[in-house]
Symmetry: C2
Subunit: 406 residues, 2 copies
């Protein structure tokens, strides 16, 4: 029987966590305050060592192991931030760590985990297979398995973010936190509610990995069949047993956002905030921007940008999606009669609508096109959804069959 973590656990975690993790900046945002009417301060946990909050919980867990346990070393499985957090936390404390990662884990994350001193074992096709291997190593080598979220010491470590918020911004009204396994929000809610029960804690999940809202409704943990979201850091089928209890007691509401909303928030943060977040780091801001919870004019709201470890190839895809989503990028395909002047005529329609052309691909190679016709694909910079609509209307009026590609 576990006793739910309390403020004391988080306060005790602080000294240990400070040894390795940073007190990350809290930054007032003119841009997002203007856009929402709230007083928005961004918790830049993206600037945390290893690029995410996971280092906090891992440090607290490993620092509180017995001497014998520390001597035997730790093991965990992760494809992402937890791998790096455990590796650096263990190295800093002087404990040996083995991290099992799926065989197709992104090169950058494997490299980073190794650079923090973790021994990386590549095993299995997915997280479940890697975790199985990690538990074998746990038994074979007598190592302690460091769970990514469902552990009181891990939760307490993540809660140190709540202490930093109370210190830097005592007037905070609402804190918005992503939920995957629930470790981060459990810790933060514990710290905040103990200091002031009036501070609101809002949890955010990705639509394609939402399990907490239905779980709260039913009063028991609901497990999803599968998950599908660009926010891979919170792509979990269910929350933890322990974290669910804390969420039930200390979180005020839980909302969801779509991948498109997440991509748009991520793109805005990059373009206007000059800050790179991963999908999971963008969901709190997405929930705020989309009005997924109520707030008053001038309310002091803190979205926790919990991490910034996003694969750069995925990033370019997400940026594109964010631009399309906001009507600032359009790619379409059409067919031209293959005779002189036809392309010029098409370009003229586009120019009249002042859309900037990024690229034109022009060819006769497609098998779907009649012998004398030419297919053309055009990439454009546009000024918003209305501009896109007006341009498409004009093209169709000019007789073009237009197929929008993104």
């Amino acid at each position: 029987m576990w006793v739910m973590i309390d403020e004391g656990d988080v306060l005790a975690a602080r000294d240990r966590v400070t040894e390795t993790a940073r007190h990350t900046p809290l930054d007032y945002s003119y841009t997002f305050s203007d856009l929402t009417g709230a007083a928005v301060h961004l918790k830049l946990e993206t600037f945390q060592r290893t690029g995410s909050f996971k280092i906090r919980g891992a440090t607290n867990r490993i620092a509180t192991l017995s001497e014998a346990e520390q001597e035997a070393g730790v093991v965990t499985a992760s494809a992402g931030n937890h791998a790096q957090g455990v590796a650096l936390a263990a190295t800093r404390i002087g404990v040996d760590s083995t991290i099992v990662m799926p065989e197709d884990a992104p090169v950058a994350k494997v490299k980073a985990t190794r650079s923090y001193g973790g021994r990386v074992v590549l095993h299995g096709a997915d997280y479940d297979e890697a975790a199985e291997r990690a538990h074998e190593i746990e038994r074979e080598e007598g190592r302690t398995y460091v769970h990514a979220f469902d552990d009181p010491m891990v939760m307490a470590g993540q809660g140190t973010i709540g202490l930093e918020l109370l210190e830097d911004l005592p007037e905070v009204d609402t804190v918005v936190v992503p939920i995957g396994g629930g470790g981060l929000i459990s810790g933060i809610a514990t710290a905040l509610k103990a200091a002031d029960p009036e501070i609101r804690v809002v949890g955010v999940q990705a639509e394609g990995a939402s399990s907490v809202a239905p779980s709260l409704e039913k009063g028991r943990i609901v497990e999803r069949e599968g998950v599908e979201t660009i926010a891979d850091g919170i792509a979990t089928r269910r929350v933890g047993d322990l974290t669910f209890e804390v969420i039930q007691e200390r979180v005020d509401e839980v909302v969801t956002v779509s991948d498109d909303e997440t991509a748009e928030a991520l793109t805005l943060l990059l373009e206007r905030g000059k800050t790179l977040v991963e999908g999971a780091g963008a969901v709190p801001l997405a929930a705020l921007l989309e009005g997924k919870f109520d707030y008053d004019e001038g309310e002091v709201v803190v979205p926790c940008l919990c991490g910034g470890n996003i694969d750069l190839n995925l990033l370019t895809t997400v940026i594109m999606r964010g631009l399309v989503q906001t009507g600032r990028y359009l790619r379409f395909r059409t067919v031209l009669k293959d005779r002189p002047g036809e392309l010029e005529r098409l370009v003229e329609v586009i120019s009249e609508h002042r859309a900037n052309i990024y690229a034109i691909e022009h060819g006769r190679t497609s098998r779907d096109v009649a012998m004398n016709d030419a297919e053309v694909e055009i990439d454009l910079e546009t000024r918003g959804p209305d501009h896109v609509d007006a341009l498409l209307d004009a093209l169709r009026e000019a007789g073009y069959e237009v197929e929008v590609l993104v």
Copy 2:
């Protein structure tokens, strides 16, 4: 005859600038300290309002106009950060501003400039034509033209960054600053050298827009025929007359970096630092990473990340270039006999070398390929230059003619 700006001008600018601009964060970087051996602190001017330092100089310039001049309003020409800086500075002081931007200026920048209260006039095919129109408006409407750099009050305003560095990091040894027109480095060098002549100021230009090093050598301003660089914020043909005098007296050395080096630094800042900079913002870090100037182990070095306003489409291109540059992305083309099993055979070679496949494009449509052959283009994630070389060798040994595309 002008009197060179001094510390007093910068100190006087501080109170005015504080009204509108932010004291931006200075952030110690574990990543870049590890990579270089120096103690690297990043000046995050990317978090400045309007996304760049230009707001500082514009504010000081407009605030020191006479009442009659303020009444008549200001005008300037810019395709970039200066446009936004003047617009917001003027609006905050209560002065009317007209900003002439070239007709093909990026939509995002036009929109941002308008959102800060500037009246935007789109005119001309390039900056020179826009500037011509701005000077016409200056004469026609009696407005004051706000120069982007060659103005003592503008320089003094930019110099407030130097004061912030002295306040936040008195032990600073070396400050690294981009040079376009020279306003930023003139102000910063003035502030730093007055406080401590031992603080070193290093200027950085893009190779394709380098004019200061040859100018210093000849003792007179050298003007380039043309410029070619991804760092559009410092793509100038020459420095200013006034800024050149300050640079001659107060800047210790001036180095250059290539576009590839800039792209690599920009990508690293994004991936490891979670910070978006524009090309001009990346050049100081590029110079440090590439060892373009000498420094001692543990030397306290501050690269000024002067701005973060980069077009997101350009960004995706730069990221790709950065990944290719560091051997982490490979796209190649080869030809397969068009019979069953050929693609599998190729994929096997790639898998043996543990390169992750992002995309395969496979077709028979190219005119360069014999009727029975199929051309295939493959995008891969690789682990570094050695990995790329080993993979290409293996493919060639297996009998493939490989053409590297990026």
